[in-house]
Symmetry: C2
Amino acid sequence: VSTGPTPGPVPRATERPRPTDQADVRRHNAALVLGCVSEAGPLSRARVAAHTGLTRATVGTIVDELIAGGLVSEQGTRAPAGVGRPGTDLALRPDGAAGVGLEINVDGIVAAVVDLGGTVRHRVARSGDLRGRTAAAVLRSAARMVDDAVAAAYDLGLPVRGIGVAVPGLVDLGEQVLRLAPNLGWTDVAVAERLRSYAVTSWPCPVVLDNEANLAALGELWTGGHGSTDSFVLVNGDVGVGAGVVLEGRLHRGSRGFGGELGHLTVAPDGPECRCGARGCLEQVAGLDFILRQAGVRDAPRTGEDAVAPLLARLARGDERAVAAVRQAGESLGVGVAALVNLFDVDTVILGGVFAPLFPWLDEPLQAVVHRRVLSAAWAPLTVRPSRLGRDAAVIGAAYAPLRDVLADPLGADASVA
Amino acid sequence: VSTGPTPGPVPRATERPRPTDQADVRRHNAALVLGCVSEAGPLSRARVAAHTGLTRATVGTIVDELIAGGLVSEQGTRAPAGVGRPGTDLALRPDGAAGVGLEINVDGIVAAVVDLGGTVRHRVARSGDLRGRTAAAVLRSAARMVDDAVAAAYDLGLPVRGIGVAVPGLVDLGEQVLRLAPNLGWTDVAVAERLRSYAVTSWPCPVVLDNEANLAALGELWTGGHGSTDSFVLVNGDVGVGAGVVLEGRLHRGSRGFGGELGHLTVAPDGPECRCGARGCLEQVAGLDFILRQAGVRDAPRTGEDAVAPLLARLARGDERAVAAVRQAGESLGVGVAALVNLFDVDTVILGGVFAPLFPWLDEPLQAVVHRRVLSAAWAPLTVRPSRLGRDAAVIGAAYAPLRDVLADPLGADASVA
């Protein structure tokens, strides 16, 4: 037994809060009112006050500004509950703002316009293996599709608040550069800047680049219903495999935006070589190339929906080789999902991309591995389900990214642009 | 090319903020003032106002309450800058509050008293392999050590604000039950409740149970200096291997507190069987048992500092077998660290527990594997370093846990207990 005082560390208040000022409070309360109207509306001003805990005077001032900004409308008239003038209800104006989403993936390009109400108002998809093509050629086609999407939004009377771009690789968020997309073979591509330079029209809003799995997770978060904690991981499958990590309602990209690289988790230390240079990465034994090769699907163009269709046809008729291939991928994916759950303790894992249509065959082998490899499995049930947005999660999330800024700061500096 | 509108999801404001009320603002500002005095003090009231952005009147009111609560003291007198009465500086009162930490591990028990200034004022350690002993026997000894620590704090004039207990396993935070500690062989032990029942004295404060790696990470966070983002993972090594994940200054325990189970990451799918029931878990090829066995250290009691001492002696004289054993563990640990970085994108990994003294031998093989297996390695430099708190990170973090509540809410309900 040793005892006695020893010198210790000097504490540092690393978790120290920032000061709250009037501008913070105003932004906070405006987001609160818009969130309330968006979720529970149509509602009277009085009920918004009751829901939010704000005074009726504060709600009144904020609502006037939200109406002026085109984000909220008054609708109908109700007979007054007591004396006084008839009341009107407040509702979100779905066409008050829109986002344009663009997804550039190994197997094609998708562009979409999504309004503030979450409805996809325009969508164009071009399938085709992009692995042989230069960044310049691909980005020229993509810029044309964004031109069309911006024009379509204009025709629909939707003010475009931003363009979100999803790419399958490491994104330097500060520089807005795609550092590395191993499956496209691209390095250091300034995607946002080059898209703008190839555009025929001038885009009246910011262009923001992010990783596809992160944006797919944002799309899922927007569509809601993930339980009380809103903690989940979206696993996006294609030729590559990525993850978007949402903890307590917030997307975690990591210190430098390079998080969620599930596809490069080691699942077989002496396994096949990966395009990243390492061995035994998850995407080498669970990605689309592996599945098609194991299943013996050689007649498909090996990309996108076109590639998955013949595989799904074989699975549907019970082709043993196809079923075994997907089950084998499911077991590998189970090792990856077990790592996610052991490390992040999320209660929900959502399978997106090509994993969404393959879910019925992936589910059981994946869950069996997870049950064996997750330490807390007996106390912490895990829900694994396909993405409700199917293969469009990333492009919808990309369109949502600028709308998220509108919802978080509805009276902000950008609001006047709309 | 397919085009046209398709129905989309209905948005839900999952990231909606809560309303701000006066109590929130008061708590927020009190934490801000105490944090400022703690970090930058001694300071005059005027400089606290300038640092925090609060009015001098608000600072004055809060400071009076902090002085009354014993957390802040006035010291010295300065000549006034202009006219008026001489000023006094405000300083944190290190003895204004204290926390008691208790660590129960496979290799022994440690209890410590840490004051608000971060100084360890009392420390008692008992080494010994606990694997053969019942929870009742271990918790009886531990309760005696806490009795002594509470008495020591009383003798030192320190008001104990809480007792933090670190255990090597899955903790159900809500129920305050240790669900599973595979290396102790314990399941479903109500540690906090049983410690209290075995205590001779009555402890005048809450007892809070948490996982050792989480508390070690809190200890590291307290001691600061993790760069601008305060994102890091502490990897705690002993017979088991655990991780505490801190993202943007916040500890992430996961949805149910079961996160950070790095030791059960699969690194060799066909590897040796683990106590958890799975195969090839990291702690089977990087934990203390593995290292001692590979190094041929049979003369040690295989627990704690006593076990590491003969290993360190062999390493220091360049014993090839010992060096090879630690390097092999370093490579396996590299696979685990690569997974952490690929998934969380932290820029700092801190090695604690027995990994801290072994760091000089673990470092190079670990970094080589990380460099090969982290996709973003070329753009995102990673710092790996030993814990500054050495093997005491968990017990210091356990003592800090209740002090953290004091710092976050210095005028809160608990403040009157002190």
